[in-house]
């Protein structure tokens, strides 16, 4: 009988610090599997964000840098420009990427920097404890929006994949979800494609992953999955927003 | 011994280049030199000026309130800086654009219609070279042949305009020697 389960080489044996029901662990594993499958671990450098995934390097086993809040795309730019042979990816959450780091991600994408961004969208600030994110849904409660997000005051949630898909510069921009096995399989294919484009030196690649945050949403893991299906997916439509020719 | 020359005019009259060529020639004669531009909003079409400091020892302050000489390419420059020039210096006046004079009797005035001479030589764009060579011939700070070579080197990439600038240079020297 063959081996039923093994840990990817690009993943450490550490237990993660993520909360029960959080989808970061799934996203980490997909990235690690893709790095293994492409055989690129020895030339891959990851960049950790500020947010729950700040310690991603404790679980993903390759060279890693730690960025300041939102600045990972600028660091990736610096790295990829001076070492185009390296495979560089940023792993960022929605507070990091869509709020404080909006400038850096837009300009890196628009320059067509040849690195990969994995964007975890769970519609909330996780690590700092459930504050409102640019991706928080209308009416969704957050510690800094105790009555729910008031869009008259704070605008509508930002759809990053749609936004980056509008850039004229060629790139690969897709939105996937991690809410059920079928979605997870599709998400892995998208992540693999994103890294492949980078290996080919083709374009910037961006994979938005609709994720859950049961703790800060105040829901059980199962209810969180359902809430994400019902509330996030109708607004954040899955699919490719840009594919290179 | 230190000599300071202020070049002043409108932005676009080529005074920064004239000053640079003078500094370059002085450097080739093993002098210490500094080329200090004014920079900022005035670069965009207003009065631009630039100071060249030439010395036989290491230059201390490159900021000069009272220069030894002045090359004034337009009227505001003459009005603004004529009184700053140290006694005994040369005040060069571009009479094509400046109807007035310095009204000083403790300096040497050199009055040359550089625009007209440059136009006669082929193009008004060479006016700054006429001014440079005329001033240099009068003030006798650097070797003229060396300066002329520096002008030639400067335009090495635009060989077509070298004859114009050589002619302008000679015209400037002639008029200075005959005035």
């Amino acid at each position: 009988m063959g081996k039923a389960f093994s840990t990817p080489k690009s993943m450490s044996d550490n237990y993660t610090h993520y909360c029960p029901g959080c989808t970061h662990g799934i996203a980490h594993r997909l990235v690690a599997e893709v790095i293994d499958e492409l055989g690129i671990r020895g030339r891959t450098v990851g960049i950790a964000p500020v947010g729950c995934a700040v310690l991603a390097y404790n679980y993903l086993n390759c060279d890693f840098q730690e960025a300041a809040h939102g600045r990972a795309p600028a660091m990736a730019t610096g790295m990829k420009r001076v070492r185009p042979d390296l495979i560089v990816f940023t792993y960022q959450g929605d507070g990091d990427l869509a709020s404080i780091g909006m400038g850096e991600i837009i300009h890196a994408a628009n320059r067509g920097e040849k690195f990969t961004t994995i964007f975890i969208n769970n519609a909330i600030y996780g690590m700092t404890g459930g504050q409102m994110a640019p991706t928080t849904m209308p009416g969704q409660r957050a510690t800094t929006a105790p009555l729910g997000r008031d869009t008259a005051q704070t605008g509508m949630p930002i759809r990053m994949a749609n936004l980056l898909g509008e850039l004229v510069t060629p790139g690969y921009v897709t939105r996937q979800a991690l809410l059920n096995p079928k979605q997870i399989n599709k998400a892995k294919k998208a992540i693999k494609k994103a890294f492949e484009y980078q290996v080919e030196g083709k374009c910037f690649s961006f994979v938005e992953l609709i994720s859950t945050c049961p703790t800060n949403w105040g829901l059980t893991p199962l209810d969180a999955l359902k809430w994400a299906e019902d509330t996030l997916l109708p607004y954040y439509e899955l699919g490719d927003y840009k594919v290179p020719e | 011994m230190q000599t300071e020359i202020k070049f002043a005019g409108f932005g676009g009259q080529g005074i920064l280049l004239s000053a640079k060529l003078l500094a370059y020639a002085a450097m080739k004669q093993d002098f210490f030199v500094a080329w200090v531009p004014s920079y900022g909003p005035e670069m965009r079409g207003g009065t631009a000026y630039c100071t060249v400091v030439i010395s036989d020892k290491k230059i201390g302050s490159p900021i000069i309130k009272n220069p030894s000489h002045l090359v004034a390419m337009n009227r505001p420059s003459l009005e603004k800086f004529a009184n700053d020039v140290k006694p005994g210096g040369v005040i060069f006046i571009n009479s094509s654009l400046i109807p007035t004079r310095s009204e000083r009797d403790d300096i040497t005035e050199l009055v040359v219609p550089v625009n007209d001479i440059a136009i006669k030589a082929g193009s008004i764009r060479a006016a700054n070279i006429v001014a440079l060579s005329a001033f240099a011939a009068k003030a006798k700070i650097v070797d003229l042949q060396l300066l002329k070579n520096c002008v030639k080197d400067e335009f090495a990439a635009k060989a077509k305009i070298i004859p114009l600038n050589m002619k302008a240079f000679d015209e400037g020297v002639n008029i200075a020697n005959n005035s």
Binding site: Q65, M75, T77, G78, V82, L86 | Y39, G40, S61
Partner: protein, 355 residues
């Protein structure tokens, strides 16, 4: 090599290339944009990297990313831009990556002006960003020294695995002076395999490297800060640079001044010497580490009655001068910082009032 006449900004760009730096990221700002303009042309000629970032904030992190890979990298900016980069500089210091920053100072605070200033002394020498760190700061007084210090900066950044700053001002950036590019500087890059995230394959190693500044364990963070402190102590022993001018005389007044301002002071000293008045000058060339002992020694010379710090600021370095003189002499200050550089005549007037 023969002398060439170059603008300070352009010469700094060329110096970086001569020192083996093939990577430059920047954002335009007066009065240093000529560095970027020069390197936009020059970097492609040497197969180097030139990139204009979208902001100084982003540029700071482009520098961080490149430095973390172990590549020689530089950026240049001017005061407001350096404020924006200060965030990244704090991270770079904490993560211990070598990088070279050039600040061609202009007047501040705020947008201030675009003329020369020395108003960023505090920012450069006391931190600028958050946390316990220092930059090694070198202050040239002209184009030749700007070249030499820029070239030297890369080796120092690698020796100390941290950010090094060249602190010039708008005059040094804009002025042309003859320069000679030294070729005898040791510009061999150091071995970075122990720490750089250069890819495991590059290092032929199974051990991965992490570049980070987050240390949640108090002991780990304290240890990292102690490691930084140890470097600063070593700098104080090994990297202090200064120049004495007319200090072998029985001067009654000692001027402490750096950069462009020190040149004006030298002219004043020469002029006063002709009147039979001796004034000494101590010019710090390294601002951090500050020449503490040299200032104390020059200030406490028997003939010396008082000390004055002369700056293009409202009084910043003077705090270090006071600290070093330890109350042994009166310490005065004179400064202007609107963009007009005080004239030698003005300095003489100030000094004579002290005699």
């Amino acid at each position: 090599m023969a002398k060439v006449l170059m603008k300070g900004n352009e010469a700094i760009g060329e110096a970086a290339i001569r020192a083996g730096c093939k990577n430059y990221f920047a954002y335009p700002i007066t009065p240093q944009s000529e560095v970027a303009e020069y390197l936009a042309k020059r970097m492609p000629e040497v197969d180097g990297v030139f990139l204009q970032g979208e902001s100084e904030v982003a540029v700071g992190y482009m520098i961080f990313g490149a430095a973390a890979c172990g590549e020689r990298v530089m950026t240049t900016s001017s005061s407001p831009g350096v404020s924006l980069m200060s965030e990244a500089i704090s991270y770079i210091a904490a993560a211990q990556c070598p990088a070279v920053f050039v600040n061609i100072m202009r007047g501040g605070p705020g947008l201030g002006g675009i003329l020369p200033s020395q108003g960023d002394y505090f920012q450069a020498t006391k931190g600028g960003g958050h946390g316990d760190y220092h930059l090694l700061v070198l202050a040239p007084d002209g184009v030749q020294e700007a070249v030499e210090m820029t070239m030297k900066a890369f080796g120092l950044a690698e020796k100390y695995r941290g950010p090094v700053m060249i602190l010039g001002d708008g005059l040094i950036g804009q002025m042309m002076e003859p320069v000679e590019f030294p070729d005898d500087l040791n510009t061999e890059p150091s071995n970075k395999n122990d720490w750089a995230t250069s890819g495991m394959d590059t290092r032929k190693s199974d051990k991965r490297n992490l570049v980070r500044s987050l240390f949640l364990d108090p002991k780990e963070l304290n240890d990292n800060n102690l490691a930084l402190k140890a470097k600063y102590e070593q700098m104080k022993k090994e990297e202090v640079l200064y120049e004495g001018y007319n200090t072998d005389t029985d001067y009654k007044v000692l001027i402490v001044s750096y950069g462009t301002m020190s040149r004006v002071c030298k002219t004043s000293i020469d002029m006063m010497k002709q009147e039979g008045i001796d004034v000494g000058l101590l010019r710090p060339k390294s601002l951090f580490p500050f020449p503490e002992k040299a200032v104390f020694k020059a200030a406490t010379k028997e003939s010396c009655k008082s000390v004055i710090s002369i700056e293009m600021s409202m009084g910043q370095m003077v705090e270090d001068v006071e600290r070093c003189v330890k109350g042994q002499r009166k310490v005065d200050f004179y400064g202007e910082c609107g963009g007009d550089i005080p004239t030698p005549e003005k300095i003489i007037e100030i000094i004579k009032a002290l005699l």
